[in-house]
Homo-oligomer: 371 residues x 2
């Protein structure tokens, strides 16, 4: 070997682990198909029919690069939210936006605050740019606003990450609590408010958009309620200077032209969204019933999933999860104690939930038998 | 304004300019539609019918994240090239791969070598990670292997960028020349061989793949010959350790599920590719004829575009370009002297080339009149 390239110091120190193993990888490993795909909080109800039609129509135009300014989609989002397009940037899902935001703000060694057990992909990007993560425990299965702010002030964090509603616990804070948090942000810390699940939250959860407030950036996605996880379209709402800075680093032609068309059509179908919200609410109710019928406590949820407290420790919940996966039910669970006493199950179709209900007793029984 | 977030030093110093203005942005500015879209070296002949069908079929499945390991596409590419999947990683077009490769290898202040007037998006990513670009002049409208290697050795470059066939000049080096270049790479420098246009090159241009050679990484794309620019699928072929390192930084779920399906189907349609190659060759011939009929020298091309020497300086070529754009013909041109005496015109349909032939005399006449 004449000479291998040298990686940067940050990269050389990064672990080779990945934030999530996808369901396809699990299926390749097991050699079997999942009966129910309830692990990634995808919307099993699918995208709006108009979005599917728009993507089909755009397929023949895929020889053209998408519009690098994402003009039509940004304009439609601006009109939808009653804000200026200069306050919106698009990215390859919230995951893509998280990477670029960290890159914009975090120098190697800079502090960043999040909750212990919050979104692993955010942590991945912070580590990836050499940031130093400070993790604040959840409190009663909620992210803890006061403790997060205190930590951000203490370590002079560049970013404070909070998801509302929360993933992986499904809990939420009121708009008033989040508003107070914004007002109490330490100077120099940006609140990164991940609102991937906002469409599932009860009224009074999501604070009004204040795009010119430099203390906060809001992240939204077409991956959850709009049923377009596979299209990779997320967006950020923030001050015009912060949004403009993304143009210095982003992959300008990075969003698929077909995805642009799909997201635009999805945004315009409010009826479909309302239907999805109704089906998700109904699925949450049924998931809670299944859980409680087997002695698990279903945590209240403002999302498209239900987190179920298995009532013992992380090893027990991991055994339950293994039992479900062995029965071809794809679910996930929080990675950190004490959240890891729970499993997390996405809203599914009635058939998906039948399959889950069918598999759960055996999984619990195996786990109780120490398998 | 209570407090705006502070950007990293690298970001604060970056210009707000973008690598390319897209055709949609031009059309929004002019308020008119282009008659011919010949500026971005897209494949106007479109993707294979099977790829369109596969993308249409995948549209309804867009609620699912794509496979984060891109397993099926990587396996198919590995089989296609007769190499191991561990030597292939996928990205959101070559642009996305370029960003991640620079991130893996370039520390702030590290030297990188490219040619003056080569791919602006590569330069954008090098600047974006704080690298220091050293630009070597083209020589007789070719990238200059000897001078590039000399520069890489002199500045201890981490990466040496070379496109073969070349964009924006359409020129090419033989596989033997590239092979000798690889053999002469200075220790510590990785040859980044951008082969976006390889499917259009004559036999003897593309060296055999040697994926376990640590001195080189090869970049390929579905954006050009496969007609899927809007799908955002590129791939890199390199040593297993270098390829594995991308997993430390990439957006794992970043490629659209629909695009994965489209690229897989495109790869399987060798007949379509052969047809596109034939049509491109024919369009190149006609473009050369049009150019020469108006006193412009058409440079030889191993790509899907023809670069035309307008015979005077950059100001003159820019005036020709303006005249074409004013006549609703989308074309681009090199940005740096002496390459900027040329305009660059993509292979088009017969109708596209009619429109170009129709617009060129007026554009030239305007330019000669100093308009």
């Amino acid at each position: 070997m004449p000479h291998a390239p040298r990686f940067t110091r940050i990269v050389a120190d990064l672990p080779a682990t990945v934030p999530f193993v996808g369901p396809e990888a699990h299926m390749r490993a097991s050699g079997r198909r999942f009966r129910a795909r309830l692990g990634a909080n995808e919307s099993v109800f699918g995208p709006a029919p108009g979005a599917i039609a728009a993507m089909r129509a755009a397929a023949a135009e895929a020889w053209m690069y998408g519009d690098s300014e994402n003009h039509d989609l940004r304009s439609a989002l601006a009109a939808h939210h009653g804000i200026d397009p200069a306050n919106i940037t698009l990215g390859e899902g919230i995951d893509g936006l998280l990477g670029n935001l960290v890159r914009l703000l975090v120098e190697p060694g800079d502090a960043v605050v999040t909750s212990a057990g919050a979104y692993p992909t955010f942590d991945y990007h912070v580590a990836g740019f050499g940031g130093v993560l400070h993790r604040v425990p959840f409190r009663d299965d909620h992210e803890d606003p006061e403790a997060l702010i205190e930590a951000a002030a203490a370590v002079r964090a560049r970013i404070l990450y909070l998801s509302n509603p929360d993933n992986p616990m499904g809990s939420w804070h009121s708009a008033a609590t989040i508003g107070a948090m914004i007002d109490n942000m330490p100077p120099g810390t940006l609140l990164l408010l991940d609102e991937a699940y906002c469409e599932f939250a009860p009224a009074g959860t999501i604070p009004p958009l204040t795009p010119e407030d430099p203390r906060v950036i809001r992240l939204r996605t077409f991956s959850k309620a709009h049923g377009l996880a596979g299209a990779r379209v997320g967006y950020a709402i923030g001050t015009a200077p912060l949004i403009a800075a993304f143009d210095k680093v982003r992959n300008h032609f990075g969003i698929s032209r077909i995805s642009q068309a799909g997201a635009l059509a999805a945004l315009q179908d409010a009826d479909w969204l309302a239907q999805v919200q109704k089906r998700v609410a109904s699925a949450r109710g049924r998931l809670a019933g299944i859980a409680e019928g087997h002695g698990l406590a279903a945590l209240p949820s403002a999302t498209n999933f239900v987190t179920m407290d298995c009532g013992r420790d992380g090893d027990f919940a991991r055994a339950v999860l293994r039992g479900l996966m062995a029965r071809d039910i794809f679910v996930r669970m929080p990675g950190v104690a004490p959240l890891d006493r729970c499993i997390r199950v996405s809203a599914g179709t009635p058939a998906d939930l039948d399959a889950f209900a069918d598999a759960l007793p055996g999984a619990l029984s195996d786990a109780r038998d120490g398998r």
